[in-house]
């Protein structure tokens, strides 16, 4: 039944990309200036692609909903970017990075894509340094690395806790150079509302000017979606408030298959929800788990007393604390992967051991680390018999040096001093591995429509490793798409400019306008946020960290009912032909209400536990792994690619079988 062709080149794994680059068609420089490319989204994937394609000579138009390309949400990435440079001489190689990424993704990604990613990773660092990205350096002037996410080598390049910001500003600077040359036209405060297809090929978009409300037509020979992930389907996530699925979802409705929508990464170290007013969640770098110990009270009555403010965590003795990760996973302890740490925290809180007023938080405690570092420092500085206060002071200084900005951020938000009392953390939706299905060339199932970065599904399988999102975004934009899209565009050198006064554009524009009219015409009982929050609750409770058949079936029905109610009685104030932030939100939430249903359907279909997707029906029954996730390679070693067929629950499943020719499939064990 599958019609999917992944177009993976033949030949040995390590030679595929080079061979492919040598064999694909090129566009001559004189012809490139007759070819237009639209790029939606200006984060790492979109910004880098825009700059590179413009340098090559194509005419590029970029679109972003923010007031400047520099504000795309890649900017908020903290930890770092992986690259197989092996500067530390610790045995790293492209193969190891490839291996770690496939294993970390729980064997649900495509080998050839991941290997290409690992190969080009080293170019990213060279490129960014040449552009003036100020990475962290050692005293000798060379680049510094750190280890990240429990891998065995130090391959992560970083710029304090602001790596995403620095890389995005690098891509933005490359864009600026091309804007200055007139090769990029940057449409800011514009939102793409549909893809226009002509003779089956993507030939343009319909966009709304968010300032004037005007509906605009833009044509091009190819369209690239670099519009990010859809974590905001949960309402609360670490995504930006405006992050949305609209570009991808509109493309899905026009024929692009949506792959693995249920693969969501829930990050264990976020600042907990403080109340119903909460609008978004803040991540704190996972590096904190290198020194922090995670625990909850051993007795329920202590947890209750803490929640009610009658007891302080520092008053609990060691015996009254349950360092549950160290207890359950002695080999990895607090450094188990993100999905394992997240589920364990949820289990503790569901069982009544949560420690903040909402009952949804666990402690991340630095007291042991402060004492250990203090004692080490005393030894180094040859202080005999240091007092406890001296040890604390020296230890706290070490911690401040490592995590100062994170501690400060925590204190600003929570109003507690994490040097004196343990931090509180809780998991939050952070990244979506699923996205538009793409072949090896990053082309979707619609000809001429490409998807890059978090918007596609291709490289992270069922779970993404830390510091790999930035790598993928830039790899796609700087080094992969500029080659593969050329192969497609080489057939378009005689096409000439795509006209926008055609029936295809008429029809798409009319559909967009009808939809806006319908949104504005709801009978008006409830705000957009009311529906978004309701959807978020369904998603979090029934499609969140652990999933089961009954909940997922309920979620599908509940979301469909909520969507119907939304269309009947959402209230959008203001008018459509002016700046209207509620209308913007309404359009995005309407698409989340469809995606959510497909998400639940995908999770229901995948009756196995893999990576970030945990099905309660699929766990180890006994043995040392009892109760842990059980992957089912026999029945589920495929990518689920869904074809739109009207209502999301009617979507048709296409399977892309995954072939592992270079890696042996193993069970992840962290015991």
């Amino acid at each position: 039944m599958s019609t999917l062709d992944s177009k993976i080149p033949s030949g040995p794994l390590a030679d595929k990309w080079t061979k492919h680059k040598n064999e694909i068609d090129l566009v001559n420089p004189a012809n490139k200036r007759n070819i237009d490319v639209i790029i939606v989204g200006t984060g790492l994937a979109g910004g880098s692609a825009a700059a590179t394609l413009a340098e090559l000579g194509y005419n590029v138009k970029t679109f972003c909903y923010q007031d400047s390309p520099r504000r795309a949400h890649s900017i908020a990435a903290q930890g770092g970017i992986n690259a197989a440079k092996n500067y530390q001489g610790d045995g790293d190689s492209a193969y190891r990075l490839f291996y770690d990424t496939v294993k970390g993704g729980d064997y649900r990604s495509r080998e050839a894509n991941v290997h290409r990613l690992a190969e080009v990773s080293t170019n990213i660092i060279d490129q960014c340094v040449a552009q003036g990205v100020p990475f962290a350096r050692e005293y000798g002037g060379l680049l510094d690395n750190r280890s990240f996410g429990g891998v065995l080598v130090s391959r992560t390049f970083y710029a304090k806790g602001q790596t995403g910001q620095q890389l995005l500003l690098g891509a933005y600077s490359a864009m600026n150079r091309q804007i200055n040359r007139g090769k990029i036209q940057s449409f800011n405060r514009h939102e793409m509302l549909d893809v226009v297809k002509v003779d089956g090929k993507a030939r343009g978009i319909i966009a709304r000017n968010l300032i004037t409300g005007e509906i605009e037509r833009h044509s091009a020979h190819a369209v690239v979606l670099a519009s990010g992930g859809y974590g905001n389907v949960f309402f609360l996530s670490t995504n930006a408030m405006g992050s949305n699925v609209t570009a991808s979802w509109r493309a899905h409705r026009r024929g692009a298959y949506f792959a693995n929508p249920c693969y969501t990464q829930i990050h264990p170290t976020c600042i907990p929800v403080s109340g119903d007013h909460q609008s978004k969640l803040t991540l704190m770098s996972e590096s904190l788990r290198n020194d922090g110990r995670i625990w909850v009270p051993r007795k329920k009555e202590d947890a209750l007393a803490i929640r009610e403010g009658r007891l302080k965590p520092t008053q609990l003795s060691e015996e009254d604390r349950d360092y549950y990760l160290e207890r359950r996973y002695p080999a990895f302890g607090n450094l188990v992967p993100r999905d394992v740490a997240s589920r364990a925290a949820k289990e503790c809180c569901d069982a009544g051991f949560g420690v903040n007023k909402t009952g949804e938080a666990v402690y991340l405690d630095f007291a042991t680390a402060i004492e250990r570092y203090g004692k080490e420092k005393a030894l180094i500085e040859k202080i005999s018999n240091p007092t406890e206060a001296e040890i604390y002071k020296m230890g706290a200084a070490v911690i401040e040096n490592k995590y100062g900005n994170l501690f400060q951020m925590y204190e600003k938000i929570v109003d507690e001093n994490p040097y004196k009392t343990p931090m509180m953390i809780y998991p939050a939706v952070h990244y979506t591995m699923g996205g538009l299905w793409v072949d090896y060339n990053l082309q979707t199932t619609v000809e001429g429509l490409y998807a890059t970065g978090e918007a596609n599904f291709s490289d992270h399988g069922a779970n993404r490793l830390g510091a790999s999102a930035l790598m993928q975004g830039l790899a796609d934009g700087y080094f992969v798409l500029p080659y593969t899209i050329g192969d497609y565009l080489s057939k378009d050198i005689r096409t000439g400019e795509i006209p926008t006064d055609t029936k295809e554009f008429d029809q798409a524009e009319n559909e967009v306008k009808d939809r806006i009219n319908k949104l504005m015409g709801g009978s008006g009982a409830r705000s957009v946020d009311y529906y978004h929050k309701k959807l978020g609750k369904i998603m979090w409770n029934k499609c969140g960290m652990s999933r089961n058949e009954k909940d997922l079936k309920d979620a599908i029905e509940e979301i469909a009912a909520l969507r119907e109610d939304f269309w009947n009685s959402v209230k959008v104030p203001g008018t459509k032909d002016t700046l209207n932030q509620e209308l913007e939100k309404a359009g995005r939430v309407a698409d989340f209400l469809e995606l959510g249903e497909l998400f639940a359907k995908d999770a229901l279909d995948r009756n196995e536990s893999c990576g970030g997707h945990f099905r309660e029906e699929s766990v180890e029954i006994d043995g040392p792994q009892k109760g842990e996730a059980l992957r089912d390679d026999k029945n589920f070693k495929y990518v689920s690619a869904w074809e739109y067929k009207g209502a999301p629950k009617e979507a048709l499943l296409h399977k892309e079988e995954l072939n592992f020719e270079n890696i042996e499939l193993k069970t992840r064990s962290y015991k």
Binding site: A76, Y87, P134, N180, H277
Partner: protein
Amino acid sequence: MKLTLKIWRQENNKAKGEIKTYPIDGIEGDMSFLEMLDVLNEQLINQGDNPVVFDHDCREGICGSCSLQINGEPHGPDRLVTTCQLHMRKFSDGDTIVIEPFRAKAFPVVKDLMIDRSAFDRIQHAGGYISVNTSGNTIDANAIPVNKEDADNSFAAATCIGCGACVAACKNASAMLFTSAKVSQYALLPQGQVEATQRVLSMVEQMDKEGFGNCTNTGACEVECPKGISLENIARMNREYLSASLKG
């Protein structure tokens, strides 16, 4: 807590704006300032009124979208935070809070509290980059060693989020802190040397064209900057500019 909000309302960049008063109740200290505005907007929508328009996106202090002049200060009374990270516990029950857009000729109001900061983008288009193609065929990253102190200072300058608080804080609405941060980032790195002369001249020329005021060294920009961008950058840009002018 109960608060009285006095908020600038302006339909579009041609309309005349005015301050309107909104009482609000049930605000908790754990709410961020923007979450407090969310509560107000929900209330306005339910009453059939138009919600207050303001820019915001990441809500974690890094995208630079949020702005707001709160009781006369860019990003409000707390230091080293953006409005999205300002929490209501910094205010007390019964307070009156005046909320206006950042004020500057070069930042026209779009609607209510939203302003147009595209002037900042145009300053960057003029020279905020190193002219190197993104082909990946550059030299190995470690073939360009950079003194750690220079790298750290370059990074510190590069952490500017482009929010415009420096302009809003300045009595002359000068964009020197913003422009100098970008000039400094490259001036401190060997990769940035080749184009240093042209860069500073072009960026300063564009800054002047946009209608930003002159710098009179009051230092208000540094005090109000949510990222703590240092005044030293302005001194560095002045040196760069002088030597570039002499080179012609």
